[in-house]
């Protein structure tokens, strides 16, 4: 019976230790800055337009093909005496969060640093009732960055 008493001593010792559980909805764990929730597009504050020029690099590199990119000519390009140097700008951009496997390849291939991984809790808490609601379109993808809540992490 010595072994049984020993295992009861072990459970007794954990009886005295501080519980490790955390009350999730009330207290959130502090996310590391590299955390990868889902990709989202970044907003260029000073010229007030998205960085993304719709060059399809990420769409081709995505293993699960969860992105659809449509570009258009940039209305406030310098040719039409606007502030922006980008000749092309993104017209509509869909990411299907239901298919995305968060592998960060799109962020690596993007040469305009226009897409980043969402490292906030809002990026994680995306539960919906209908799978097609997981398809994020351009305004939704830009929302968080436009509101300035995203400090994206860039791998040097």
């Amino acid at each position: 019976m010595k072994g049984i008493l020993k295992s009861m001593m072990v459970t007794a010792s954990t009886f005295a230790r501080k519980p490790v559980t955390r009350e999730y909805p009330e207290s959130h764990r502090e996310l590391p800055e590299r955390d990868r929730a889902f990709p989202l597009l970044l907003w260029d504050e000073d010229i007030n337009e998205p960085f993304c020029t719709g060059c399809h690099a990420c769409e081709r590199a995505c293993p699960v093909e969860c992105m659809t990119v449509i570009m258009k000519d940039n209305p406030n390009h310098t040719a039409h005496d606007g502030p922006s140097k980008r000749r092309k700008i993104i017209d509509s951009f869909y990411i299907d969060y239901g298919r995305c496997m968060r592998c960060n390849i799109c962020v690596e291939v993007c040469n305009f640093e226009a897409i980043a991984m969402n490292n906030t809790w809002q990026g994680h808490e995306t539960s919906v009732y209908d799978r097609s609601d997981l398809v994020m379109d351009l305004p939704q993808l830009l929302a968080e960055s436009k509101a300035g809540e995203i400090q994206e992490w860039v791998a040097e």
């Binding site: 998205p50 969860c66 659809t68 449509i70 258009k72 869909y94 398809v135």
Partner: protein, 188 residues
């Protein structure tokens, strides 16, 4: 599968590779009764055996006390479209700690081969998987049910890992239709 001969024609005859660093001398001695064609792999020596005496060769390799390949590491197949299907045996010797890859080519018309379960029990499930994925029939296999594919549906002529088997279309949820009935896309 390019072998030494094809390289030979293109460029002037390269000196036949003597495989000195590999197991080839012992393997050649062990498999003297069978015509064998060596090839240098990335890590271990590759040996090609004709279809009819693969199992005999594997038996010799296992019971040869010099080589003593008592551990069947992995058994799989590679579909080379028109050159037929290669069945690959990766062998290892626990006592001697050396490796060997044995390959044999089956023509696409009759993909039939003797079962290796007589030599190693480990081949049982691996052969079942190769059978259902590549359509190779192993004669004398103790339990030829499909391994990974569902049994209730008759999939006996569906062999997914063959190159001829198409990739499934991805049901695209994005684009105009299903996205959102938001106002005009791109309204930024």
């Amino acid at each position: 599968m390019t072998t030494d001969e094809t390289n030979g024609e293109a460029v002037e005859e390269t000196p036949p590779d003597t495989f000195e660093g590999t197991l080839w001398p012992d393997v050649n001695r062990a498999l003297s009764a069978v015509d064998v064609r060596p090839e240098r792999g990335a890590l271990d020596l590759i040996v090609h055996l004709p279809r009819k005496d693969v199992i005999r060769g594997l038996g010799m390799l296992k019971h040869d006390d010099e080589l003593h390949f008592d551990y069947l590491r992995s058994l799989t197949a590679v579909d080379n479209e028109d050159e037929g299907v290669d069945v690959v045996y990766h062998l290892y010797s626990v006592s001697k700690n050396h490796n060997l890859t044995v390959k044999t080519t089956l023509a696409n018309e009759d993909k039939v081969l003797e079962t290796a379960t007589t030599v190693w029990q480990a081949a049982n499930w691996l052969e079942r998987e190769v059978a259902e994925m590549f359509g190779v029939t192993f004669n004398g296999h103790p339990d030829p049910r499909p391994l990974l594919m569902p049994e209730d549906v008759d999939l006996s002529d569906v062999h997914p890992l063959l190159k001829s088997h198409p990739f499934a279309e991805i049901d695209v949820l994005q684009g105009e239709g299903l996205g959102h009935d938001r106002d005009a896309p791109g309204d930024v």
